[in-house]
Amino acid sequence: MKEIAIVGYQQSDAVSDAGACNEVELIIPVISKVYDQVGIKNAQDVDFVCSGSCDYLQGAAFAFVMGVDALGAVPPIKESHVEMDAAWALYESMLKIRMGHADSALIYGFGKSSPGELPIVLSQQLDPYYLAPQWVDTISLAAMQARLMLDKGLISEQDMAEVVSRSRRNALNNPHAQLAGDVSVQDVLAQETYVSPLRKADICPVSDGASAMVICTVEKAKEWGLPYAVISGIDHCIETHNPGMRDLTDSVSTRKAAENAGVHNGAVDVAELYAPFSHQEIILARALGLGDATSVNPSGGVLAGNLMMASGLSRIGEVFNRIVSGEAQRGVAHATSGPCLQHNLVTVIEQAKEAA
């Protein structure tokens, strides 16, 4: 199977309110930057384009259609869209390259969550007959999951606060972060609970923004003369939707995807996990079998800024950045979708062989 490389990645700042910016205006700056990084002019210079977004964030049917206006799709381009995080747009693009219909692809994800009440909006993602009519928001569902873990003694509130403290401190080095600061475990524990047992700090913020990536065959990366990292494994897996039917304290689908993606075939220097709630980072790290040798969420993760529909792609981009900078040789990126980590995608990214 063809080796596929990441050659460019850019993310906007995660901001709490992008103001009057529309989606096209969110996308254009990041794709312009990624074109510059790769040395191409526009979407005409890649063989395939795929994006991820969600109509309900914009409150419009076919919200992604206007996104095409950001691409310069004249003459027409080969283009597709997933109503999922853009990490799955990357997955679709990889299939396109593997089947020989493209050598390169532009992937982007975008979301402007600020105009709505995101946790309530996402409650309409639940089973429309039995769950959605209860309007259980994402925070309440995650709180139940955290409560289960605390009651079973699988985590402590201290453990959760440690995740938050590390995220805020790591985010000090991330210029795109929305929340960063020298926050101690005691500072977190001193906060009152918001939806018990979660404190506001345990919950990712609502952010507006976009991210973009260019991938290609290794041959193409060499032709372009660009530093690159190789995607050595990728897999995803979904579980039952009924929260009562699965063990919410574990992530079986992450474990399975990790095995298929080959996470355990080498040391993991860095891991970027899409954990919108502090306790979920612990579930994921355990499911991925990560130990002390792995730096988890050095960007601060999504607790420092959560670009809905782009955060999964951003996790992959953050690992890519650390590999091409030489900071890490091999890393794992994770993306999630659905309530309480229902659907999970795991990517393994490695240093190019020439660089090793």
Binding site: V68, P75, M94, L95
Partner: protein
Amino acid sequence: MANLAAVVGTGQTSYTTKRGDVSIAGLVREAAVNALNDAELTWDDIDAVIVGKAPDMFEGVIMPEIYLTDALGCNGKPMLRVHTAGSVGGSTALVAASHVQSGTFKRVLTVAFEKQSESNAMWALSNPQPFSTHLNAGAGGYFAPIIREYMRRSEAPYDVGIKVAVKDRLHGARNPLAHLQKPDITMKEVEESFMLWDPIRFLESCPSSDGACAMVIANEELAEQAPRPPAWIRGVAMRSEPTMYAGREEVNPQAGRDCAADVYKQAGIKDPRKDLDVAEVYVPFSWYEPMWLENLGFAPEGEGWKLTMEGATSLDEGGDIPWNPSGGVLSSNPIGASGMIRFAEAARQVRGDAGDHQVEGAKLALGHAYGGGAQFFAMWVVGSEKG
């Protein structure tokens, strides 16, 4: 070079205004089970599931595939959700095919659906946006001026659309799954139906349907062992262009022409009218048949309507290139599934599985879907032979 892949099973629900007897999950499961039965397979034989549908606002469920996991036997498997406007049913089939053509999976299930009765598509398409002009026109209002421009340029007689409306309903009467069953429809009846968006009359428009369509796509080795004839995927293509730009050719969009040229090249098709035996093409408003006959190269520009009027696209008139023998979108329109129905019906034709609407001896068929402001295109060519 892509790996060979083939359709080894298709399944559909019947199409109707309101399927009150099933939930959304029940609807998609019905189509999926029909496809598995056709392929003589079980849920365990499926490696991944690829789901497509038009905007989530049509049912009011955000990313409904998340809730459909259980109904589609997807626990512990990869699931992908495609959304590319009206072309989505076709794009979903192409993304499903890429799972196999890339060598990543051996056998996948793909399902597309719409349960339009859960909501109101006209509303969902027309809610005002803070940064855009509010059209409040629905799809018919959007396409009517483009059709008028086609009529002006081609000098086609006024009743071409009426003829298509009759032809596709007569085809639909041969298909027990079709939503509209009008075996006695006449030109006069269509002409006298009320004008919705001039020049589109009520009976020149597609219905609003509930329904789902599914296919099982397998790799070469498994397709060769399939109990029923496979439909080999001979070409796949998609193209997009922006909704509006200076100089955009809206009547005969370049994205459609490029997409057709790409898929024909892969399938070795030089003269589509001669080389193809049948086509299932997305015609939601009658006049789009002559327009797409030209866009897809079945007729020179300005002359597509002549094929329609000569009966070339009619099964009942013994035409040489039947279009939409299933009755097409004009007979059934569960929006998100409509593209996949075209792709699945093309596969049924080359598998010799199309019942009373079978084109005799069909060996090579085109499946076509378009969406947005006629700016997103998805096409495949399937054949009874590997090629």
